[in-house]
Structure formats: structure tokens, C-alpha cells
Symmetry: C2
Subunit: 728 residues, 2 copies
């Protein structure tokens, strides 16, 4: 039996029991109007003692989108996915969980609809794995909210979802620049060297990260005085070069007498409690730690204020990591291992094999035992005690909320970059995620392409993966190809792990440096388009990155997972396989203008007919396609966002009839756009005879734009170009 609430014309909530109020949904639901129903559209429902099971019969051609940060194809059919936030650095095809839990689906087919299960613990989605044609959702609880979005229009489903959960987060404009990280740059000097190297080599860069080793013994909200004698000066000095420092922060607070964060948390009862009512102990980087109870608003307020440590230094970006929360071991876990060792010692000779394997299994599973998550507790604002496992997927969400609320108070009217590793629906309105600890595997480039699309459907418009791969060693070719992809993802960070091959652009050969520098410059040339499109996407609740099938009515696009729309006018088709000198591309519906891009300055374009094409793309080239009657907006690359005013734009358009484009800009750092402080240039281009008629209208009441001139490179469907310019 469900209680049904109407949320909008298209969206209904089916409530089972008394769900935990996760905070994912912020739409107002009129709880006075409801009806009791025993069935749900699209699903058969089976209730067992412990769980509710939803099954939906899929038609042969139905495609299933969604699940945000998860492995496998863009079309989620054929696998099992488990919503249970997990820190697992081996993203092999077997893995069913990653860092985030995103129980949202779009079924696109004979009957099209969307769904969100708002339930913060384990949910299993068997999307045609056990039975090819059955979608089976198992919720091991009777208390949850199940939303259904009823429309044939996939973009509209996303819009409804965002109505429910909030508009996507908008970072500062500089967060669209290139970002560099390494676990770890071990000292202030190393950071300064990396920064200099970027400027010396004329590689644009906006952000450098300090990973865990900047802290004193991994104590959050500290800096190591030996290796980073003056972190604040470093921040200030690099700011002059246009480089922003973003520090990592973990949730685990080191147990250490006299350490203020520990002392305050302990004194105020801010930490999660164990079964014995004492502060729960789990080991992470700092050794033994306590976990702040982010589900409690007092704790969040306290924690949020802690970021003052950084904002006072001028820092405007925070990277919250390890907030699944990752656990290396608990004291219980250690005892489990020790017990298996004792069993080994007691075992007979012939049982030694099993006994040693038991040690190995216990030891290697030490970090991820669900029992550990079942052995600590949260205390909600109303005093209710909740077992962590029952709300597990919310920990990163509420750590993010603590940070976002804190930063908003510390930086009134300002924007900030805010990253989390773990996430839950709704986090996208407060900050964002990257795709976690991937590896330098070609397979993970493809995973990046697919997740980029799946995450955008869930409001994570500003996202990306660690370019070049975090774990494992990157080959120069992998780095180049991944940089080409990364240049066309909203979040563009090169990051690599301790012990792996250094991955900064200059760590390889001269050719690799030259190619990747050109790619980063290309990225910066695209910033006017990227930022304008991003802001328009948020405004209209349309994903910034979309699968082709969300835009084109063409059955074949449902098979295309490695090309995507990047903004409204550009399709990106990255080369993501080793040793390839080209790739196949499917062009839906109409003609496309192709740019085999490598350098901003080299803009050779070619018109392609719709259909299948083999496109050559040498190592330094990435295939880009401008949609018919679409345009992109470029500018001269800079060393960092805002280094100079943008005084000239170059519009490259592919116009066969009439093309309209709304160029958007604002100050890029404040929230003043919410008060209407932004500028637009409305561009209309119409084919007229052999040429084009171009019309520009500027709307800039607050004098934001410094643009003096707009250049036009407009192509017709024969590939003829007309170059012109207008002063504005």
C-alpha cells in the first residue's frame, strides 16, 4: 500500500511507510492531498517481510538511462547495480557500486518514464541482468519514497527531476579552466615549482590541488609547518599568477589530545557513536579517528565554520574526499583479522590452506565490511538515533551541506568550487563530484564519457574524471587522448596517485607536451562557449552534456554512447582506443560541420552528410562537430580565466537556414547573476542567397562585457565560408 502525492502534472510520489527525510527533494509537496493506492504504474510490486521488489517488463528495444555515477554502458541494461556508497579503487567491470548512490532511471522505449527512489541505504537495480527483459528494483525496506515522472520526453524528465531536487550548482568561472593535481605535491616548494612550470611553458592553468600530505599528520584544518611553512603566503603568491589553491579535506578527525578539532568535537558530542555510546573509532589516513555526525545540523554548523581556516587565506575551492565514509579498518575489523590468524595457528596441517586464505580474505576485506557501517550511529536534530547503515548514502551529502552552508556564510555573495567524492541526489545543487579514483586505463576513458552523460542527467552538470587516470601508469598516448576528452568535459583536472608515473604535461616527451599544451589552449579558447552554454543549461534545466538520443529522434542514436552533445551546438567524438588513427562517428538527422581540432588557430572545417562515417584523427586531433544551424563562440586563449578582458569573440557557425544563439556572460565569481547582473548577446544568422545576414543585439545593463568586436566564420552546407566581423 502506497500513499500517492501529486507533485506536478507529470510527477507523482508513491510513499511507502515512513521514509527517512533525506533532504534530497526540496520541492514542496502538498502532503494534505493524497490517496492510498495499492499499485504503481509500470511496475509489479511484491512485498516481502524485509523488502519491496518492483519489476517492470522491458520491451526489446527499450533503453534504460540513469544511475549517475555507475559503471557499465550508458544504456544500463544487462547489469546489476548496487546503491551503497563505496570507496573501491578498482573499478573493474564486476563492481556494482562506486562512491555515489544515484537511484534515478529513465526508461526510454515503448513506454517512457523516469523514476527516483529516495531511500538512503542499499538498493539493488537488476537492469535485465538476471532476465534480459526484466528491470527489477529491490529495496530492502518498507520505508521509502518512489517518484515516477510520466512523460515521453527525456529532457522533460530531467527537468522534472531538477524541479524536485534543485537547480545545478554553479562554480566560479575559473573552475572551467585547467586544473592540476597529484597525490601529493609534498611541499610548498613543489607546488610553487609546478605553478612556475605552467607559466614557463605557457600552459594555461587555473587551479592546483594540495592532496592529503599538506596536513600535519593528516589532521584536517591544519597545515604541516615543515613542508608547508607558509601555506597562506603560497596561496596569496600563486593567486597573483592566476593560480588558485584547492585543499583536500577528509571527514575523519584524528584522535589526538590537544588537537582543537578533536577536542571540540569530543566536548560537544559531535562525533558518531558506537554501540557502546562512545565516540566511534575508525582508522583512515590519520590513524584512529572519529567521524563527525554530519546528519546533525549543529555538527554541520560547527564543521562549516572550520573552513574559515582556508577562506581566510583567500582560498575559494574545497575538495571533500573520503566521505562514503571510507574506512581502512575499525578496531572490530582488526580483531576479525587477528581472530583468523589465531584460527590459522590453531588449525591442523591439512586445514592450513583454508586458514591462510581466511586471513587473506579478512585482511583484504578489512576496509569495506558492512558490519562496520552497522556499528555506529547518528543523532538527528530531534534527538532520534539512527544506525549509520540505514542512512549510509547520505554521509557525503551532509558533509557537502555542511561545507556549502559554511562557505556560503563565510563568503557571502561569492561562488566557490566545492567537490565531494560521495554523493546522493540533490548534492548537485550544493556542489559537485568528480568520478573518483579511476585508473590510467583506456576502458576508464570510455567510462568517463558514459558517466559524464549519466551524471548530467542527474543535475551534475559540472563534473569530470581524473584526466590521465588516477591509479596506474599513463602512457603518453593515453594522456594525450584523455586530455582531448577532458578539454570537453566541464571539470578538467589532471590527477594521479602516489607511486604512479608523474602525469603533468611536461613529464613525457616534447611532442606530448606540445600536443597537450595545444589542447589546453583549445580548452581556453572554448571558454566563452562553454561558460555561456553551461549557464544557459542551468537556467533552462537542460543537461549541459547530453546523449545524442536526448536530442535526436533517431533509433540509431540509442546505440551511440561515445559521442555526446557538449552544450547545444557541439558534438564531441573523442578517440578513446589505443593506437587508433581515427574512429567511427554517427551523425544523426542532418548535416554537420566537422572540425578535426588540435590547435585553436587551425580551424579547418568540412561538411559531412548525416549517417556513418570513419573520421581520421591523428594523435593530436579530436573530432568535433557543429550542429546544423548551431554555432560555437571562441576567444584567444589566456594563461588563466580572467587574465585579460575578452575583447574579441570569434563565432564559428554552420548555417543552412536560420541560426540563433544566446551568448551569456557575467562576472564569473559572484552570485550577482541571481540579481540580474549578467549580459547577453543575441546572435541571429540567416542564410541569404550565397551569403549570410548577421544580426547582433547586446543586452548589458551592468557593463559586464568588454567585447569590442565579434568575428564571424560562417559555413554553408557546401562548406563555403564567409568571414566577417562586427564591432559592438
Amino acid at each position: 500500500m502506497f500513499t500517492k502525492f501529486g507533485v506536478s502534472n507529470l510527477t507523482s510520489l508513491y510513499r511507502s511507510g515512513k521514509p527517512f527525510a533525506t533532504g534530497a527533494v526540496i520541492a514542496t509537496i502538498d502532503e494534505s492531498k493524497f490517496q492510498q493506492v495499492s499499485t504503481l504504474p509500470h511496475f509489479d510490486v511484491e512485498e516481502t517481510e524485509d523488502s519491496v521488489i518492483f519489476t517492470h517488463k522491458m520491451a526489446k528495444g527499450d533503453v534504460v538511462y540513469g544511475l549517475g555515477e555507475s559503471l557499465g554502458p550508458l544504456n544500463k541494461r544487462g547489469r546489476i547495480y548496487r546503491m551503497y556508497s563505496t570507496d573501491d579503487p578498482e573499478h573493474t567491470p564486476d563492481k556494482k557500486s562506486l562512491y555515489g548512490s544515484h537511484p534515478f532511471l529513465i526508461i526510454d522505449g515503448v513506454s517512457t518514464f523516469g523514476l527516483l527512489v529516495d531511500y538512503p541505504s542499499e538498493i539493488i537495480f537488476d537492469v535485465g541482468f538476471t532476465n534480459k527483459d526484466i528491470l527489477k528494483i529491490t529495496i530492502p525496506s518498507h520505508n521509502f519514497d518512489f517518484y515516477i515522472f510520466e512523460t515521453d520526453d527525456k529532457q522533460k524528465i530531467v527537468e522534472e527531476y531538477l524541479q524536485l531536487t534543485g537547480k545545478p550548482y554553479i562554480p566560479p568561472k575559473w573552475a572551467f579552466g585547467f586544473q592540476q593535481s597529484r597525490w601529493s605535491y609534498f611541499s610548498e616548494n613543489e607546488i610553487r615549482d609546478v605553478a612556475s612550470k605552467f607559466r614557463e611553458l605557457s600552459i594555461p592553468c587555473d587551479v592546483i590541488y594540495t592532496d592529503i600530505d599538506y596536513m600535519e599528520r593528516y589532521k584536517v584544518f591544519t597545515t604541516d609547518k615543515m613542508r608547508f611553512p607558509d601555506y597562506a603566503s603560497m596561496v596569496k603568491d600563486l593567486a597573483k599568477e592566476g593560480i588558485k589553491i584547492v585543499p583536500i579535506i577528509d571527514p575523519g578527525v584524528r584522535i589526538e589530545e590537544g588537537y582543537p578539532v578533536y577536542e571540540e568535537g569530543k566536548r560537544n558530542g559531535y562525533f558518531c557513536k558506537g554501540k557502546d555510546g562512545k565516540d566511534y573509532v575508525a582508522a583512515v589516513w590519520p590513524g584512529l579517528t572519529h567521524f563527525p555526525d554530519f546528519l546533525n545540523s549543529d555538527v554541520r554548523t560547527w564543521w562549516g565554520e572550520k573552513y574559515k581556516f582556508f577562506t581566510d587565506m583567500g582560498i575559494r575551492g574545497i575538495w571533500n574526499d573520503m566521505n562514503e565514509p571510507a574506512v581502512f579498518y575499525t578496531l572490530d575489523g582488526v580483531n576479525r583479522v587477528v581472530r583468523t590468524i589465531e584460527e590459522f595457528e590453531k588449525s591442523d596441517e591439512e586445514d592450513k590452506l583454508d586458514a591462510v586464505l581466511n586471513v587473506r580474505d579478512a585482511a583484504s576485506n578489512m576496509a569495506v565490511k558492512r558490519e562496520d557501517y552497522k556499528s555506529f550511529y547518528h543523532r538527528l536534530d530531534d534527538g532520534t538515533i539512527v544506525n549509520h547503515d540505514d542512512v549510509h548514502n547520505l554521509y557525503g551529502f551532509y558533509m557537502t551541506k555542511a561545507a556549502a552552508d559554511g562557505l556560503s556564510k563565510l563568503l557571502p555573495g561569492e561562488r566557490y568550487l566545492l567537490l565531494s567524492r560521495s554523493s546522493y541526489p540533490g548534492l548537485h545543487r550544493m556542489g559537485t563530484i568528480w568520478m573518483g579514483d579511476n585508473k590510467s586505463w583506456w576502458e576508464h576513458m570510455l567510462a568517463n564519457i558514459r558517466m559524464l552523460q549519466s551524471l548530467n542527467m542527474m543535475g551534475f552538470f559540472y563534473t569530470g574524471a581524473d584526466v590521465g587516470g588516477f591509479g596506474s601508469d599513463a602512457s603518453p598516448e593515453l594522456l594525450i587522448r584523455w586530455m582531448e576528452l577532458g578539454a570537453f568535459t566541464p571539470y578538467f583536472r589532471n590527477h594521479s596517485a602516489l607511486g604512479t608515473r608523474p602525469q603533468e604535461l611536461w613529464q613525457f616527451d616534447e611532442e606530448t607536451l606540445n600536443i597537450t599544451r595545444d589542447i589546453v589552449r583549445l580548452r581556453y579558447a572554448f571558454l566563452p562557449y562553454t561558460y555561456s552554454e553551461f549557464m544557459n543549461a542551468v537556467e533552462t534545466s537542460t543537461p549541459f552534456v547530453m546523449p545524442l538520443s536526448f536530442v535526436f529522434e533517431d533509433e540509431r542514436t540509442k546505440d551511440i554512447e561515445d559521442q555526446y552533445m557538449y552544450g547545444s551546438s557541439l558534438m564531441v567524438a573523442p578517440v578513446h582506443e589505443q593506437n587508433k588513427k581515427g574512429r567511427y562517428v554517427y551523425l544523426p538527422e542532418s548535416k554537420w560541420l566537422n572540425w578535426i581540432a588540435s590547435k585553436y588557430e587551425d580551424r579547418e572545417m568540412k561538411v559531412y552528410e548525416p549517417g556513418d562515417h570513419y573520421i581520421k584523427a591523428d594523435l593530436h586531433e579530436i573530432p568535433l562537430f557543429i550542429k546544423q544551424n548551431g554555432m560555437i563562440v571562441l576567444t584567444e586563449p589566456m594563461n588563466y580565466v580572467g587574465e585579460r578582458y575578452v575583447t574579441e569573440l570569434t563565432v564559428v557557425g554552420f548555417v543552412t537556414g536560420h541560426a540563433h544563439y544566446d551568448y551569456y556572460d557575467d562576472d564569473g565569481t559572484s552570485l550577482n547573476y541571481l540579481k540580474g547582473e549578467y549580459a547577453n548577446i543575441s546572435i541571429d544568422i540567416a542564410k541569404e542567397g550565397k551569403g549570410f545576414k548577421i544580426n547582433l543585439r547586446k543586452n548589458d545593463p551592468n557593463d559586464i562585457l568588454k567585447i569590442k568586436k565579434v568575428r564571424f566564420e560562417i559555413y554553408d552546407d557546401q562548406g563555403n565560408i564567409q568571414i566577417s566581423s562586427k564591432m559592438i
Copy 2:
């Protein structure tokens, strides 16, 4: 300084120091004629105290083939490979070693040549990973043989390689049938049920495997009397149904008083010795075991005779596993773990993290410590004592030699199926390998396609991977697509691991059963072509499976890794991605006749122009292409090879000018073909006007063929078909 020997017009041996005589090469080398040289063609050579390093500058477009059983692309550029036979069941992109060691390369480009490093311990191939354009081979020794093959013709390089190492092994004809396995079928009854199920459901099948659990406590050359009360009768009964039983055999001999294999080995000193001169102890499935010293010919003779246990039951197939040799742990290894535990217990609170991680690391690396391989010894025929590590890659090779020599003596004049997991060059002349413990990952289907080509270059013509994947759970779609691929690999076995989803064709839905049954029937319909092509391939030392680039002079084919020639007339283009309803195919040089195959009976053909094509292929369909002026030879499917005489053949040809085909057949089970006891039908088809002129010549002095009629379905380049038949 190298000693150079001429091996043939095209092949030279460069000998460094005094290499271990591996036995890989069987060609006669005139050691009286040599010259001392200080350089090698194609390579710069650097000698250090411990190693010799060869570097070759690759041109941008050079393609590197080879390395047999290894991960990564068919073009090996961009990765590091380590030759050191390894039992590692997680074939992730990081892994540098698999079960076999195959130090053979073909560099195809500006200068084309091949090479074989005959050295049986670790070799590192850095094929443009560290530096995009440098091939670097590091041999950590001064004693090795380095062969160079000097010709532009890749097929010729393979031929020279086979001149050196021997003609490929030929299995019995029934080994081209479908084979079923599971770790494990736990009882005679289960095996009988599986066999019945095949016959009941009319799924052709020739072989069923008994994995390790048929043995009594994993003691080799025993059967468990509880679960397999009468193994011999089972073998005999199933033989009547056309089903051959193939048992697994591991090298490790369980230490158990009174167990004859153990007692004999111990008494005669047949086991490898530890540093203390005692029989070396390592734990594998049976618990503590000794390893037979296969590098000694007395041991091989003894071991080879042991297979009599099986041949006496009528068994004609042996599956030698675990012969890297795999080691779960050694007593040293256990002590290492125990020591880390003790350290953990002694450690201070703040060092606990490191201490527990040490336990975990020690425990999880227990199975694969190189130190273990360095702590036991072989005794050669001349009494020389050799450290195992120095000859590590030969262990599986010499276990195979023991089995092959033994079986040849036990079964004079007969063929047998002989599988090994570990291998070294030259093993291909005695038996074969499958691709080891893969997983139910789509990525491993692609690995299968690539390795099939790389292994064929090294003489492993008869090979394949565990269809559906050994580890992990298969989805019905994965099984179907992989069965489609498997039907066009010489070795076609469905195998899956303990604890994974059962993978027999009837374990899924009705549709999956029906599709896969049709695929197996298609496989049996192709047997006349497959067997004839296979035998011709061995005869002419031309790989049975070849990359397109080995056949066509077309730069684009160097990029094509997921299509392959299967015999001389057929190109296979399997769908190997999830949820796809088709795939891209590149057709080199000339027109091709396409069969979107699903059922033997449904033969609809279509002519394609050369170039790029998107080819639709629904779940039940696999794209096949017949080469211009090529033909395939089919027959009615049977339940097992040899169930009935083949009395009718159907030739499907694509003839635009003149087509010639040599059909080969023999008794399929004996070695009499070596004495000339085989039959041929020479088929000539010439385009004449709108029709074709067909000419058949039978050569069958020993009355092997029972064929009465040959049907012809011949297509011209417009796709017009002419159907006819001839009695012969």
C-alpha cells in the same frame, strides 16, 4: 658481443653467452658456422652488469604484433609486457603477465622484421610505453638466444618462426566440436545429467570436462570414489552418446603417505628440491604438495606413463592446469604473513594502520612471491642443478612435453586433445593452450578476439578462450554474443567458475537457449570448412586465424583489431559490446559477400562494396563475410562430430572471376594423414557470362570421403545466386 648463426636465408640467430637449452627451437642449426658480431640489425644494444637492453626506434606508423598470450591491443604499442608466467585471475588492463611467456614480435612498418628471444625467465618488453617511439627489450641476463627474421612479409615471418619451432599441433577432429565445462561438475550424476541435457535439447556437444573435484582430495591420477563411483563406466557410457570426457590434471603432488604418485616421486627423487636439498613444499589445491621436476627426462617419462590411468578408460583428452606452476603459498610465505602479524601485535597504537596494511599486503601477495620461485631447483639430465626462477617459463612447457610424449606412447598412431595453461614457444607443436581464467567481462571478449590472432601468429592455431567467461557472472546477452564469437574460434568451450552464475546454455531464458543452440548448430555446419582450412593452415604454416593486415595491403587494416580471417575465405566480425544492435566493419580491397548468420538454414547473403559499413546484427546474429573468390563448405549439423557420415556438402561461394578451393578431409582421429591417408576435393568455379562453370576433382585413394553430393550456392558481385549440385 654475439655469436651469429645463419638459420635460413631469412633467419639469423644472435647468441649471447651460454644460453639455457630451452627446447623451444627444433630446427637444426649448424653450429660450426658462425661469426662474432658486436651489433645486431634494427637494435641498439646496451649491456649492463645484470642485463642486456635492446632498443629499436619505431616510426610513427609502425605496428608491433606478437607476444601471444598477453593483454592489451593486437598492436602491442603503448604498453609494458613482462614475460614471466603468472597465475593471476584478475586480467585487468594493468596486468603485464599472463600464464604463458611468448617473447616473439613482428615489427611491421618502415622496416619490417620479426624476432624471438629464447630465454626462459623474466624479459620486459616496453613497446612504446615509456617513450612512444621506442621499443625496449630488457633481458636480465647475458645468456640468451635472439633470433631475427628478415622479411617484409608477415606471413613469411610466421612461416620462419614455425620452421624454427615446429608445425602446429593437430587435435582430433572432435575437438572442433562444442565443449562444456564447469568448475566443477561435482559428481558422475551431474556429468551424466549435463550430457543428457545436451542430447535432450538437441544441442550438439562433443566434450565435457571434469574439473578438480573429480579427484580424491585433489590427488592427481585418482578419482573420488564417493562422487565418481565409476569414472571409467561414465566415460564409456558417454562415449556412446558421442561425448568425450576430459579430466584436469595439476602438477602438484599431494604429500600423503601411501599415495603411490607421492611415494614413487619421493623414492626416485622426482620432485623439485628446496635450498636444503629436500623435496620442496608448496601448497596448491591438495594442500601441501611437491612439484615434479619436469625438466628432467626421467621424471617426464614417469609422469607421462601416469596418464595410462586415463587412456585405459578410453580417455583421449587431457587438460593440464596450474603449471606456471601456480602456488597458493609456501611455508616461507606463511611465515612471512605470520611475521607481519607478530609485528602488528607488537606495534604502537599509532603504527597500527601500517602494521595491518602489512598483514594485508603479505597475505594477499602470499601466492605470487618471486622469492618462492627462487627457492627451489631443477636437476637436468646431465646432473646440472638449475634454480627454478632461471627457467621459470619452461615448467608448463615441460609438463606438456611429459604428457605429449606419454600420450603418444600410450596411444600409438592416435591423436589426442592436450591442453596446458602455461606455455612457452614450441609448446604449440605438442598441444595447445586456452586463454586462462578470464571473466564474464565484455572487455574479455575483445581480449579473446585479439589474443586469438596473436596466438595464431605463434603457432597456437588451435586455441580459444572460456566462452561466457570463467570468473564473474555472465548475463544472457554476454553469453549469446560470446557464443557467437566462440563458434568462430578453433577451440570452443563454455566454462565457468565455482560460485558464478551457471553458464550452460539452458541456464538462462528460452530465447537464450534457442539462440545459442542455433549458434552451436551453425558451428557444426561449418565443420567441413573449419577442419579443412585448419589442416591446410598447418600444412602451409599459415595461421588459421589472421589479422586483416596479414592478408591485405591496406593501411587501414592496421587499425582493425576486432575482425579477423578465419581460414582463407571467411572474415568474422563479432559484436562484442553490450546492448549493441550492430557494429562497424571495414572491408578491405574488394567486394565481400555478407551473411548475417544466426541459423545454418537461413542463408541470406548480400554483397558489400569495400570500405566502411555499419552492419546491423541483432542479438542472435553474427556478421560473417566471404572474401571475393572465396568459398565456405557446410554440412547438416550433427549432435557430435562423426555422428553420421557427411554425405552432402554445401558450398557457398562468392565468385567474380575464378575461385579455387582445396577441400581436405581425413579420418579425424589417427595420425594416418601423415602417411598420406587423406582426401581432397579440388573445387574450381569460374564466372562465365551470367552463370558459373563449376569443376570438381576428387582425390581419395583411401576411400575416406562418404560424400555423394555437393550443392553449390554461388553468388556473383551483384548478389545474384546460382544454385546447382553435383554428384561425386
